[in-house]
């Protein structure tokens, strides 16, 4: 079991959940959801958030019953052999998540800031920093999560500038899309705010984990607020045809921000975004290495180095957008089924299991 010294206060669940949901996705999710739901896609954000609340709720139910992490859940339901195998799949999922987050951020950097940025060198430094953070223990990882929410708070002000050039009429008429369109947009949106499943790994690291339940939900609410503000601003700032062509809508909106001392804001935004992306990488690296340690009883330190090296090599070898897109596509599909089919399945299985056990 986890030593009390390494545990975190329940309220910090807010930051961990929220920060893992907010990542590179915020920079360009608007186009993806507007593809199917157009100007009504802000409703999809809310619907997706409700889904996430529900999923988070059943995850918590499951974890409270099991009082452990995903490995315990798997082992309880499937037994040791199959359970561990499934946990391994989850580890792969986390590693792919790390690669995607890192690689997508690098792509943003290449497109918007430094076209000739060397992926190998930057990934090396980035992962080195992540390894340094994780070596400090979970408490330090959560600290980075905390600062990644607190320090970029000033970015909120950036949402006010595009309003000068916005037309609120873009949102009218409300509910102009079919249920199917909305469902599609909601699905796409869910994939943007994926990341809260990390609770399956760090649950045992919370002091009085039951108390963290409400904080986790607050975290999802904060995430929703961020996405909602960024989504609505983009919807009123761009016309539908324009949004369709804008890959990174949030960044394009920052282009209009002008302040007396800073003529162009997006460079500051992109650079600060590193602080937002860093905890995503840290959390999934930490989660993967932690699960490996628990399953195979090996030193987490070595696992961490091995995974980081692996991520470095893969992200260095992924050279063009096409390959990244393929990986992204697979990841999204897996993520979708994982969240909407596998998690409810696990939940029901856990419920039945504990019912049966209690009867015995």
């Amino acid at each position: 079991m986890v030593n009390d010294r390494f545990k975190i206060s329940p309220y910090l669940a807010l930051f961990v959940i929220s920060t893992n949901q907010i990542g590179v996705g915020v920079l360009g999710f608007q186009r993806i959801i507007a593809k199917s739901a157009g100007h009504d896609s802000w409703i999809a954000i809310i619907l997706a958030a409700l889904c996430v609340h529900f999923l988070l709720f059943i995850m918590y139910m499951m974890l409270k019953k099991t009082d452990g992490d995903i490995i315990n859940i798997h082992q309880n339901i499937f037994g040791k052999l199959i359970g561990n195998f499934l946990s391994n799949l989850f580890i792969v999922y986390l590693i792919v998540q790390t690669i995607l987050v890192l690689r997508t951020y690098l792509e943003v950097l290449q497109v918007w800031m430094f076209p000739e940025l060397n992926i190998w060198v930057f990934s090396f430094y980035f992962l080195g920093l992540a390894v340094y953070i994780i070596s400090g223990g979970f408490r330090v990882v959560v600290g980075i999560c905390f600062f990644s929410i607190v320090l970029p708070l000033y970015l909120w002000f950036s949402a006010a500038f595009p309003l000068e050039f916005s037309s609120f009429r873009n949102l009218l008429p409300i509910f102009d899309h079919s249920i199917k369109d909305m469902a599609l947009a909601t699905k796409d949106m869910t994939l943007s705010i994926i990341g809260f499943e990390i609770i399956l790994v760090f649950y045992p690291f919370i002091k009085n984990p039951e108390k963290s339940h409400k904080w986790a939900h607050f975290g999802v609410m904060y995430t929703t607020l961020v996405y909602l503000v960024m989504g609505v601003t983009a919807l009123i700032f761009f016309s539908p045809g324009q949004l369709e062509k804008t890959i990174w809508a949030t960044l394009s909106m920052w282009k209009i921000v002008q302040m007396p001392i800073v003529e162009r804001f997006e460079y500051i935004g992109i650079a600060s975004w590193m602080l937002v992306v860093l905890p995503n990488v840290c959390l999934s690296l930490w989660g993967a290495s932690r699960l490996l340690k628990k399953i195979y009883n090996v030193k987490q330190k070595y696992m961490l180095w091995a995974i980081a090296l692996f991520v470095l090599i893969i992200s260095g070898l992924l050279t063009n957008r096409k390959e990244i897109n393929v990986l992204n596509e697979i990841y999204s599909q897996v993520g979708f089924y994982f969240l909407y089919l596998y998690i409810p399945f696990l939940f029901i299985a856990t419920l039945i299991l504990y019912k049966v056990r209690n009867k015995e």
Binding site: V111, W112, M113, F114, E116, L117, N118, W120, V121, F122, F124, Y125, F165, S167, R169, N170, L172, P173, D176, F237, F238, S239, P240, G241, Q242, K245, S252, K255, I256, Q258, E263, R264
Partner: protein
Amino acid sequence: MKNFIIIFAVVVISILTFTFGRVTKEVVDDVNIVSAIGIDKEKGDKIKGTVVMPTFLADKSIENEIFEGESFLAKEVINNLQNQSADPLVIGGLTVALYGEEVAREGITEYADALRRDASIGSGVYLGVVDGEAAEIMKGSLGNRGTGRHLATLFEHNMKHRDLPKMNLHLFMFRFYTKGMDTFLPYVKMVNEKVEIKGIALFKEEKMVDIVNETDMFFFKGMVENFIEGTYTVRIEEIDEYASIKRIVSKRDIRVQEVNGKPEVSIHIYLQGVLSEFSGRSTDEKIVANIVKGMEDEIVKRSDKLIKKFQEKNIDPVGFGYLASTSQRNFDAAKWKATYQDMKINVTSKVDLIQTGVIE
């Protein structure tokens, strides 16, 4: 031994970082920052690009440096110009892009799109159409802060405080991509070595089709925007005097109704202003009432004329179509388009003079 390995690793990593990790520098005084670009038509498919950049002299005065080149593509022009320029040309500081009327009549969206595609260019760039050749303006040394800066401030203050409607790269693309709304740009001309705003160039899709005169700009702005400043001198026929009205608040209210299966539009313009100049002797209540009446009639007359012109050219810079589409569910765009040219559009107006100056 361990220390040796660590030192060796640090040295190798630093060398690799400094050789491969660096990105190209654009040191501010070692690049030529293009501040304005003018695009004109050449023979065949070719275009002629003229760029102007400020060079800063030791005594803090600014001189303009001009480069001219030909190509098929807008951005390619800049690349062709590189071999004329001592320092590399960079385009991130662009503030104004002007297009010759000939180019504008053939469509400028591809050029505007080129600007938007470049991540280093801001979206607050001012665009404009030139009566004649854009190169002429680029070559004329304007203002004492460089041509680009001069043009930018010219546009900026006319949009903020005068009769020019707000327009920049972002808004141009916004209008271009919005269904049921056509775009426009400021129309400028070189007169006596000074650049003058001569009116507004109206676009249909991507092609310039018509011009709004300087005198009608006041009313044009009243129709396309809310909340603006500007002055207009009206002749009050009943008393044969002139009154200059400075507008403080102007609001437009456009309603689309379905009358006998046909859409009917009514536009109401409300204007709140102050009397800034009056040629008569005294301003008693009766005269004020006269001025108000005169102004109201003028607004209706002029706006009506403008709208007739739009309908005749089948363009919609006010965005009646956009407003209709956002205020109705299941909006039939094709039907609207078919009926637009002979649609009934009513203009009404209301003027409030809230003060008549410090004397009576």
